[in-house]
Each structure stands twice: as C-alpha cells, then as structure tokens.
C-alpha cells in the first residue's frame, strides 16, 4: 500500500515532505516548466533582501567532485519586486511558499518579516543566517549563538504569529547544537539545516581562485554526510523541534536518510541544477522507499535512526531483505564489514 506522503509545515498541510531548497528554485517559474509547483511540498524562495542586489561578479560557480561551489552573492530583485511579481505568481499557481529572508543587520531581518506579515501566500519564513553582519565586520550571523538568536527574536517579534519561522543554520560552526538552541530559545518554530560549507577551488591553469569571490559555498552530495550529522545532533538535542533537512539530497533514498536522522521535511537544492524535475522525482522515490519499509506514513520514519520508534525496533531493513549492502552508499542493511 502506498505510504501517506502528507507532511506539515506549521499550520499548513503539504502534499509531501520534499521542498525545493532556497536559492535552487529561482522564483518558482523556472521550475514550473518541468514540474507542477503545486505538487512540490513547498517552494523555498531565493533569499530575499530589502533592495535589489547584483550579487558577485562571474565566475560564480565551480564544479567539484559531487559538489558545486558557488559565490552568487545573494543576487535578487529586492522585496518590493518579490511581493509584486514572484509571490503572487507562486500563490496563483497553487504553490506553498516558504520565503527565505536575508539581511545585513538584525533590524533589516525584522523589517523584512513585517513586510511579509501583510503579504498573502507566505506559508513560512526561513531565516538565512549565513549572511555577513554589517554591524560586526561582516561576520556571519549564523556563527554565533547569541547573534543568531537575536535575528530570530527580531523576525519572530515582527512576523504575524501564525506564520512559522525556521532558522537556517550553517554547518561551519564548532557546535551547531548551541546555535540551534539559541534559535529555539529565541522563538524559532523550526530549524533548517544545513546551509553551504565554505570552500575554495584554485584553477591550476590560471593559477588563480576559480571563483571571482575566491571562496564559495559548497553544496551537493559531497556535503550530505555533514548534513546527516548536523540533523542527527540537533534532532537528538531537540527532538520536538521540526527540522527541514537539506544538504546533498539527490534521490528518495537520500531524503529517507535525512528523515531517519530526525528531519521532518527534506530540502532538495543542488540536485535541481542537475535535474530540473528533481523535487518531484525525489518525492516519488521516497514514496517507494517508504513502501518498501512498510511505513504507512512519513512520520513513521522520522528520527528512526535514533532507535526510539517502532520501525527501528523491528529492524525494517532486515525484515524486508534489502539485498547486498554496500558500505559506500547511503542507508543500507547491516554491513558485514565494520570500521
């Protein structure tokens, strides 16, 4: 029997738990050529700032093994154009929209949140904390628990109370649980993790950094184990806080891995660059994975890798005979090898 794929994002019911991650779905229109945006769990917008922004010079992208390094620099139309043009389009096409916001100051985040309070079609707000704080020599908000908490408090205090707030965390910290805790304490309804990892590529042909901005954010399957670890740690510390698990998801099996680690929703990002219909494919594949596990609904697998629930105790993979396990790949049966 097919599993019930429905999921919840605060008060909003989603047809499935697979979301298009911020910065990889454009304004929604780009993807609509290849899938029905109304059937994607939700579309997380590109990070919206107050003013239009050019972003960084090209080259902005470099391909790395199973990854992409980018320094786009938050190019975007600004909130006025977003509210006039993009959000109404998403709403009229039946999409559920999570609006990602980015600011240069804590006050800017708050101001963006209050603009969104009056807008129709905002299912949730995701706070992109991986932005330089103009009031602290460009240090990312996400790096410090107190600063991250202040941003969350500013957004929560300015946003309509029935719109859930998710804080998107950076993995480039020594203690992600501490940052998560500060965000939850400050009123975040959920957490979104992970954002990109800071990385660099040097072009040996030109003897220079491959990106005009020198460093960039690494994403794609290469970072998936980091995402799984972060989701696991945060879910262990805050088992009741909803998590959007994002980072290197390419297949339904990858999505299942993040759910097992404790995410209740899964973001698909860089995979969209490779496959414009990735969101619908991953949702379809996840449904197959759940059916193979004998799970009736998505909730049955959330956090199961922590060994707390019914399915885990049954050792579902063993019962259903997943065939030869491969040490190198995603979630698989008990390995005969160790270490």
């Amino acid at each position: 029997m097919p599993a019930d794929m429905r999921a919840r994002l605060g008060p909003v019911e989603l047809p499935n738990p697979v979301l298009a991650a911020a910065g990889c779905a454009g304004a929604g229109r780009e993807l609509a050529q290849f899938l029905d945006v109304a059937r994607v769990g939700a579309i997380i917008s590109k990070s919206i700032m107050t003013e239009p922004r050019t972003g960084n010079p090209a080259p902005r992208l470099a391909e790395t093994p199973s990854g992409l390094l980018n320094s786009v620099g938050l190019q975007g139309p600004g909130i006025d154009a977003f509210l006039q043009r993009d959000l109404p389009w998403l709403l009229s096409h039946g999409a559920r929209t999570v609006v990602s916001i980015a600011g240069q100051t804590i006050r800017e985040y708050g101001a963006l949140a209050s603009r969104l309070s009056d807008a129709a079609g905002v299912s949730a707000v995701e706070i992109n904390l991986s932005c330089p704080n103009a009031e602290d020599t460009g240090r990312l908000f996400a790096l410090d628990p107190a600063t991250a908490g202040s941003v969350v408090a500013a957004v929560r205090g300015s946003l309509r109370h029935d719109i859930p707030v998710f804080a998107k965390l950076s993995p480039d910290v020594t203690d992600i649980v501490a940052v998560a805790g500060a965000c939850v304490e400050a009123g975040a309804d959920g957490l979104s993790l992970i954002n990109v990892l800071l990385g660099m590529v040097i072009d040996p042909g030109r003897l220079r950094p491959a990106l005009a901005g020198a460093y960039g954010g690494l994403s794609g399957p290469a970072v998936r184990p980091v995402a799984v670890r972060c989701v696991w740690q945060v879910a262990e510390a805050f088992p009741d806080v909803p998590i959007i698990g994002t980072g290197g998801v390419r297949t339904g099996r990858d999505a299942l891995e993040l759910l097992l680690a404790g995410a209740s929703l899964v973001g698909v990002g860089t995979a969209i660059v490779h496959d414009p219909s990735a969101c619908s494919r991953v949702a379809r594949e996840l449904e197959t994975e759940l059916a193979a596990l004998g799970a009736d609904r998505v909730a049955d697998v959330i956090g199961q890798a922590h060994g707390r629930g019914a399915l885990g105790a049954r050792g579902a993979y063993g019962i259903h005979g997943r065939g030869a396990s491969e040490l190198v790949n995603g979630p698989s049966g008990p390995s005969r090898q160790t270490g």
Binding site: P65, G76, H274, P276
Partner: protein, 296 residues
C-alpha cells in the same frame, strides 16, 4: 499559455550518432519534442556522467541543427576538452542521456529580406547554419565569415561555401583562408557584401570587437554568447553578464534565460566578469527617485 506550450522539455533522448568533425565532435540525439520546438540560436543541456555521476553541472550546447528523421533529431557540436565533454564523446549509438531543451532566446530574424552576415569562430559557427536556412527561406541573403585557430577548428567551412552567397574563412595559423582573426576581415566583408545585419557566435572578446566595428557602420548585431552554464534554466545564477535594458538600466542578467542571443549593443562587453558600479543593485546603488514606488 501559448508560451508554455512552446517551452522546453526534459526528455530521455537516445543517441543516434557521435562522430568526429575535424577537431570537434557532433552528437545527434533522437529528441522529437525538442526538435519540433527548436528555433535557431537555442540550446540544449545534457546531464553527463550517468546516474551516479559526480559531475553535477549540466553541459549546455547551442544546437547545430534539427532534422525530421526518426521523428525529430537534434545535433550539437562540441570540443571534447573536459571530463563531461569527453564522456559525451565516448557515447555510442543507442545510449541515452537526459536532455533539456530547447532553451534560451533564439536569433531574431528581420521582418524584411536583408543582407545578413553570419560570423562564427570555432564550434561557435554551429548554430549559424540553421539560421542561414531560415533567413534564406525568408528571402534574405547570407554571407559567411568563419574563423578558427586552424583549418580543423573552423566548423562548417564547406557548408558555408555551398550555402552562402559568399564565404570568407580565416585561421590564426593560416592553414585555411586568410591568416589572422575574423575581425581582421570583417570590414572588408561588410563593405563588399553591403551587410545590413550581423549574427555573431564567438568568444566574448571577438563579440566585443565585432560589436564595436559594426557600430561604426551602424549595423545591428545579434550575438550568441558562449558562457559557462550549470543549470541552463535560470536557477543557479552562474552564467551572468551585465546588459543594459532598453530602459537604459544595466542589469546582471542570466545568459541562459535572457540569452544566449543578445542585442550586442546592449551587452557591456568590457564589463563582462565584473559588476559595473551603475548596475541595478550594485554595492552603493540607490533607486533614482526615492519612494517613487509608493508615489502611485
């Protein structure tokens, strides 16, 4: 809704042939849904490396031509110089690939019959032949000016000689046609052919020089830019360049959705790879009239 019907599709396409064309490779896919929607100047993207690939960026190729056989085939020409293109060159008939297309803004064609010069460098010449056929069909004349590093890197010289009213070839090493860059012959060709419109598909520095020269003769240029793309559909924001709108405002636009064919006089060729200070949203940029959005 009409635009959506003509939009791009994502298909599993079967390889019909992969063949060497001098220094390049030509790959032909059976992809009827792309072939029927195609207009000259548009491109396709291909996922390379198979289902477990470590190469996440798609590879973008301007379409050489489409044919009605097998329901519709799509051919593109490429230089196998990286891991993705080498993987493509090693494909065999009946292999299949994930293809998306047709993408991007095609070459606009003149309302009235015109004397058109089609200028291409290297494999950049590939999209010019489908364009030439369309122009000829509509009563325009076509002159070719093709160039490359060497004879084996001038794509389509023979076809140009056969199908063009004239065909001028240049190579950097003098192994075919005149020695030198295409731009060295451009003025002479413009004068002799009494060119009214230029279509150019070449590296950015060549497009910049062609634009500057054509400007002196007041000849409009439509330029197809060859910039690296990762998604081809407008989500990754990788293929950007500064282009001035007809409203006079410079924006950082995506070559994949706003191009790859641009009105050349609107592209800020000297600023490609930079963020001009006066671009909309550049650091320090301010809206011209504060509050005009609320003024009604």
């Amino acid at each position: 809704m009409k635009a959506a019907a003509a939009g791009p599709v994502q298909v599993r396409a079967t390889v019909l042939t992969v063949r060497r064309v001098d220094a390049y490779h030509a790959l032909t896919l059976v992809a009827p849904a792309i072939a029927t929607r195609f207009r000259p100047g548009q491109f396709v993207t291909i996922a390379v490396g198979g289902p477990e690939t470590s190469m996440l960026g798609r590879r973008a190729f301007v379409v050489h031509d489409v044919h009605p056989d097998h329901g519709g085939t799509v051919e593109f020409v490429f230089d196998a110089r990286g891991p993705g293109t080498r993987w493509l060159a090693a494909l065999r008939a009946r292999d299949s690939v994930d293809a998306v297309g047709p993408l991007g803004r095609p070459f606009p064609v003149p309302q009235n019959p015109s004397r058109c010069l089609l200028l291409g460098v290297g494999y950049g010449s590939a999209p010019l032949f489908a364009l030439a056929a369309k122009l000829t069909d509509r009563g325009s004349s076509v002159d070719f000016l093709l160039g490359g590093q060497s004879a084996d890197r001038v794509f389509g010289a023979l076809t140009a000689r056969r199908s063009g009213r004239s065909a001028t070839i240049t190579t950097a090493d003098g192994s075919l046609g005149a020695r030198g860059p295409v731009t060295a012959m451009l003025e002479q060709v413009i004068r002799e052919a009494r060119t009214e419109v230029i279509y150019a598909s070449a590296p950015v520095p060549v497009l910049r020089d062609v634009t500057a020269l054509a400007d002196r003769y007041a000849i409009p240029v439509q330029a197809s830019v060859d910039v690296a793309m990762a998604c081809g559909i407008g989500v990754c924001m990788g293929c950007v360049l500064p282009v001035t709108g007809t409203d006079g405002i410079t924006r950082i636009v995506r070559a994949c959705v706003d191009g790859p064919v641009f009105r050349a006089d609107l592209v800020r060729w000297d600023d490609v790879g930079t963020i001009p200070f006066d671009a909309l949203g550049a650091p320090g940029w301010k809206p011209k009239a504060e509050g005009h959005l609320h003024a009604g």
